[in-house]
């Protein structure tokens, strides 16, 4: 049976520390994002932590919501790309093929979660940061769209190792950088096609919701929060 990768994020555990953001930057060769760029709207954060404030002082509640590519089953970003730079692979990942992208940015506009990022210029890393690049991950050229890939390089590595060892992929063996780095263990990643996997059980729990569910994109990131 094919894998169908999904994620569960427990919002009641999330502290908003943004370790996941930093880990993603390190793992995926993200271009630099400084305050200057952020002000111009050119910052890159494949996973970002949105803060929502509820209530009036002193009864303010902050909700932290890590938002990343939801790898929607019926992703609105996929059919609008004229060159098939983004499509749905058999394992349920919304794949971004950097080589094919010509930069029309329609996908970026059509993503309701605004999780897509565009390389407006050729990315640059001031020395010695270019030595920190992950060799498993492509460095994107200018003019190309990018977004969270569920650390597809880690998925590929685990699958390769499992195949070499003639065993199935174990639950929890694939850990994207964000999941791996979360100190509160708020994030879970796994195979939704396996009913026994942790992520499937969490997704089926009473606390599971999805973001912008009524848009019908069928996202695969489940946000767990206690019902009011």
């Amino acid at each position: 049976m094919e894998h169908r990768w999904g994620m569960a994020i427990d919002l009641d555990r999330c502290t908003g520390c943004e370790a996941c953001v930093a880990a993603c930057h390190a793992e995926n060769n993200l271009p630099l994002s400084d305050p200057d760029q952020a002000e111009k709207g050119r910052a890159f954060h494949w996973i970002r932590v949105d803060r929502y404030y509820e209530g009036e002082f002193p009864d303010v509640r902050v909700k932290y919501m890590p938002v990343l590519c939801q790898h929607c089953e019926e992703a609105p970003c996929e059919p609008v790309c004229p060159v098939y730079a983004t499509y749905h692979n058999p394992e349920g990942l919304n794949v971004q093929v950097y080589n094919r992208c010509v930069g029309t940015r329609y996908c970026g506009n059509n993503c309701p979660y605004s999780v897509r990022f565009f390389n407006w210029f050729e990315p640059e890393w001031p020395a010695p940061l270019e030595l920190q690049h992950n060799p498993d991950v492509a460095v994107r050229p200018g003019g190309v769209m990018e977004k969270c890939t569920f650390c597809i390089q880690r998925i590929q590595r685990v699958k390769r190792d499992a195949k070499a060892e003639s065993r199935p992929v174990a639950d929890g063996e694939v850990q994207p950088a964000c999941v791996q780095s979360c100190p509160a263990e708020a994030m879970t990643f796994g195979d939704l096609n396996d009913p026994e996997s942790k992520v499937s059980r969490l997704a089926a729990s009473g606390r599971a919701t999805r973001l912008l569910e009524d848009l019908g994109a069928k996202p695969k990131v489940f946000y767990l929060q206690r019902a009011k």
């Binding site: 089953e73 019926e74 992703a75 996929e78 059919p79 098939y84 499509y87 749905h88």
Partner: protein, 164 residues
């Protein structure tokens, strides 16, 4: 041989053509040259055309070709996008429509070029020089009928009948 006669208005041209037809000349033997379209009575100078049929055929064939091509490409390298089916009439209907229209446009223009004779390399018969306000009628006839033709033309008000 050709007889080219000059007229000054459409009714006299109409009369001339009527006279020539009465004398037994065929519409195919006659040509009217002018700097703007000449209003002649309905049916006097019939020029059959296949343009409508050609346009429909061209449009339909290009439309069908577009459908087959798109279908082929979508199955040739099947990539799923947004949960949509590989081939879907809704998702690509516009393309079929545009190609159908393109077929109509292209065939109309091509038929025009062919039917108007514009593409013929050899203009064996030199046409009269276009003058604003003057209409020329040219009759193709063999030498024996030339006198009859000449008489028809002059009877209806021709000026400057030239033989070539």
């Amino acid at each position: 041989m050709f007889l080219t006669a000059e007229f000054s208005d459409a009714p006299s041209v109409g009369a001339a053509i009527g006279a020539l037809k009465a004398c037994g000349f065929d519409a195919a033997q006659m040509d009217v040259f002018s700097t703007e379209p000449v209003e002649l009575p309905e049916g006097l100078l019939e020029r059959p055309s296949h343009m409508s049929l050609a346009a429909v055929v061209g449009a339909a064939s290009l439309g069908v070709l577009a459908i087959l091509f798109v279908r082929y490409t979508q199955y040739d390298y099947p990539l799923i996008t947004g949960g949509m089916p590989l081939f879907s009439w809704w998702a690509t209907g516009v393309i079929f429509y545009e190609f159908t229209m393109f077929g109509a446009i292209f065939t109309t223009f091509a038929t025009f070029l062919v039917e108007s004779g514009l593409l013929e390399r050899h203009h064996a018969i030199p046409a009269p020089v276009l003058l604003a306000g003057r209409i020329h009628v040219r009759v193709c006839c063999d030498a024996g009928r030339a006198v009859t033709a000449m008489e028809c033309l002059q009877r209806t008000g021709a000026v400057n009948v030239v033989e070539s």
